[in-house]
């Protein structure tokens, strides 16, 4: 199979205007991936599947990924004109900004016909709240059908063009997306006190009368 750089160049030539970024991988696995503009995702996917040299006919794995908003501390250098004739005064100032979070979907593509892979595609949503839709790749690979439903269920990515986008592992009446990093689990599930502070504290919060202090203390 051609090198990732060559593939990137070929894709860029084929899809002018698509933003296509080669994402490096710091681990020894060396599995690099392509981050693709969602607007072009399905076209690129179809091309990868139908291109006779690549023939990526199998989408093996669909993974959701959550990156919450995070604070970034940056050092900003400001230079002001100093005394006349002298050098400008440079002051350093630290500022924090919120890097907006996003949801990401990663597709691992292999070729059964030509026995190569993986080619890894990734696409990001605009944010984690109202711009969470991405084009579905189920029309390209049927194997995405259940896996995209799972990503929808657990991460809340809405796949446009998915034939049957419903919850798959959680029940239909469930609210929230449990795999998101900021998901707070409810405290009213069937609890059993254990020797651990966390569970016990949660149980006491929810059932103040039932979990009397000392009820679940380990009795050495």
């Amino acid at each position: 199979m051609e090198s990732p750089e060559a593939l990137r160049d070929r894709l860029l030539a084929r899809f002018p205007g698509a933003s296509l970024e080669l994402v490096a991988n710091g681990s020894p696995s060396g599995q690099v991936s392509f981050r693709i503009d969602p607007a072009f995702l399905r076209e690129v996917a179809r091309f990868l599947r139908d291109d006779p040299e690549l023939a990526l006919d199998q989408c093996s794995n669909v993974t959701g990924l959550d990156s919450p908003d995070r604070e970034v501390v940056e050092t900003v250098k400001e230079s002001q004109p100093g005394a006349p004739g002298g050098p400008p005064v440079v002051t350093e100032r630290k500022q924090t900004r919120i890097a907006p979070g996003h949801l990401e979907v990663i597709y691992h593509l292999y070729s059964v016909a030509r026995r190569h892979g993986p080619v890894i595609l990734r696409a990001r949503t605009g944010n984690r709240t109202d711009a969470v839709s991405l084009p579905s790749l189920t029309p390209v690979w049927r194997s995405c059908e259940f896996q995209e439903r799972e990503v929808f269920d657990l991460y809340g990515v809405v796949f446009e063009g998915h034939p049957d986008l419903r919850r798959i592992l959680m029940w239909d009446a469930f609210t929230g997306h449990p795999m998101r990093k900021d998901y707070v689990e409810p405290d009213d599930y069937e609890w059993e006190p254990t020797p651990h502070g966390d569970v016990l504290a949660k149980a006491r919060r929810h059932y103040p009368s039932a979990a009397a202090p000392g009820a679940a203390q380990p009795s050495p």
């Binding site: 059993e192 254990t194 020797p195 651990h196 679940a216 380990p218 009795s219 050495p220």
Partner: protein
Amino acid sequence: MLGKGLLQGLAVTAKNLVGSYHDPARYVTQEYPEVQPKLPEAYRNFPFLVSETADDPMGTLRCVACQICEKECPPQCIYIEKSKDKKPDANGKLQIYPAVFAIDTAVCMSCQICVEVCPFDAIKMDQEFAIAATDRFDGLLLNREQLAKPNAYYHQIHPTEASEVDARLAAERRAAEEKARLAAAAKAAAPKAAAPTAAAAPGVPAASASPGSIPPPGPPPSSS
């Protein structure tokens, strides 16, 4: 011929029916509980704490409450509270001991990771499997006294492994004594320029040999 396969299959079932009366390979069920299973040596169930002797299990626990197992336990079923005071271990060295050591066997998944990460060979896997209880806490939340079992018991259930552990511990003990002896000899041979207090230092580890200096291993504070 239609039906040949069926007849062939019936011959197989007939062979197994007859075989189940005389062939051990075809009759494998056991009449539990009248016949108890023969467990392999590697069989593991729930963890227990190794104590050196059966007479004084709380005084001779190998556990020093380092809490590595508590941290590494995947389902988080171990709960340890360190002691405030120190007690001498089998080598006479003063060590912290677990004031509370509880394992919730209803949560434990018998994965043996606590045993692998323990640097002191203090926790091992038991083979007791018939531990049904009528109460989830009284029966299944095991405390320190219930968990402690003597080294002899460990030899009984995992003989090969226990012998290896004993040999390793003995070698470590010898190495430590040798090191202490060499250090003492080196200090004794050091030039007299060294401060006089340094010369007295070698006596400190040796002091553990005198039982008089050890506080009696009274009941642990939390056992009341």
